[in-house]
């Protein structure tokens, strides 16, 4: 095999990996904005537009260190993955385990920790 062909193949391989990275990398902030703010509100206070007076429980205030420090990282992961019932809470918190990847959920937990500026209990 000559050198030129090898270079072409290498460049192609690099482009393939980069391309993949670019098209699939969605930040936790972007995911939060698209999926979560509709209920949790644009600053996470639990005041999204879906929260009408008919909503039996209010979405968790992600900006409250007091509320969020009661939850461990595992609690948060479980609620996002399987919905409120995973923590014996309301199904008004839907499951996102088939919508977000496990890595995206991991990033989301860190993002929520930034919003509340707190760490997990337990």
């Amino acid at each position: 095999m000559n050198k030129k062909a090898l270079y072409v193949i290498m460049i192609f391989a690099v482009m393939m990996t980069l391309g993949k990275g670019i098209s699939y990398a969605v930040t936790a902030e972007e995911n939060y904005k698209f999926y979560c703010t509709q209920c949790h509100g644009s600053t996470g206070k639990g005041d999204g537009i879906n929260v009408t007076k008919d909503m039996a429980v209010t979405p968790r205030n992600h900006a409250s260190a007091e509320d969020m420090s009661k939850l461990s990282d595992i609690d948060i992961t479980n609620a996002i993955t399987d919905g409120g019932p995973a923590n014996s809470k309301s199904p008004l918190m839907p499951p996102f385990g088939k919508t977000l990847t496990a890595d995206e959920i991991k990033d989301m937990v860190s993002y929520l920790r930034k919003l509340c500026n707190c760490t997990g209990g337990k």
Binding site: Y35, Q38, I49, N50, T52, P91, P95
Partner: protein, 226 residues
């Protein structure tokens, strides 16, 4: 003799029947073609409605740049009689503007005349997806579906429904009040079962694995009864 009369009568009657059926099919095809022209002349395509499947959206941006729901599977999703009426008098279905989680729906959808509406409905009924199996779901106010819709999951968090005569529920999703007049049950089931086919990027979560196949069928039958 008698026999021959009956026989020719049969021939005449069947010829007439064929002529009528043939003519009917011919005229609805013609209407669909006219409907397509109206659709194009009024610029209903473009950013507003995609009429060419399959879905190609991959990113949030792909979804967010659309100004209206895609119609490439309209013939499976919507009911013809509903479209004929709605296109003449378009009432708000989504409480919020398409794709917005802030702005109220201004309710400014273009209106068509009766003839145009009939023709466009005829055209949209020709847009179908191979991923919808027909004859699977019958409208049915079933308690299991209600349980799965309201308690196991809480679809009303985002969708308006009618509950004891009152409209309740979230605002981000299309209202499901009287959805049985608008949506076909078989499509509702397909939409839940194969979310990536119809709408790969949306604010609604994927329920595969969280609702069983039976739950999805029961929910589709329930919504079709709304």
């Amino acid at each position: 003799m008698v026999k021959r009369v009956t026989c020719s009568r049969v021939v005449v009657v069947s010829l007439l029947t064929f002529a009528i059926i043939g003519f009917g099919a011919e005229s609805s095809r013609a209407d669909a073609a006219k409907g397509k022209s109206v659709f194009e002349a009024k610029k209903c395509g473009g950013d507003c409605h995609i009429t060419q499947g399959p879905a190609t959206e991959k990113t949030f941006a792909d979804q967010l740049k659309k100004k209206g729901p895609e119609l490439w599977y309209a013939g499976n999703k919507l009911k013809k009689e509903w479209m004929e009426k709605w296109l003449q008098d378009p009432a708000v279905i989504r409480p919020l503007e398409y794709n917005s989680i802030e702005k109220k729906n201004p309710g400014n959808h273009p209106k068509l005349s009766k003839t145009e509406a009939d023709e466009v409905a005829e055209y949209l009924m020709t847009l179908t997806s191979k991923d919808v199996e027909s004859g699977v779901i019958q409208a049915n106010k079933n308690i299991q579906g209600k349980q799965a819709f309201e308690k196991k999951q809480a679809c009303q968090a985002c969708h308006q429904i009618e509950k004891t005569g009152k409209v309740i529920g979230g605002l981000v999703a299309p209202s499901l009040v009287k959805a049985g007049e608008r949506l076909q049950g078989d499509w509702i089931y397909a939409y839940l079962k194969k979310p990536k086919v119809f709408k790969p990027v949306k604010r609604m979560p994927v329920y595969e694995g969280y609702l069983s196949d039976v739950d999805m069928k029961n929910i589709a039958a329930l919504i079709a009864s709304f």
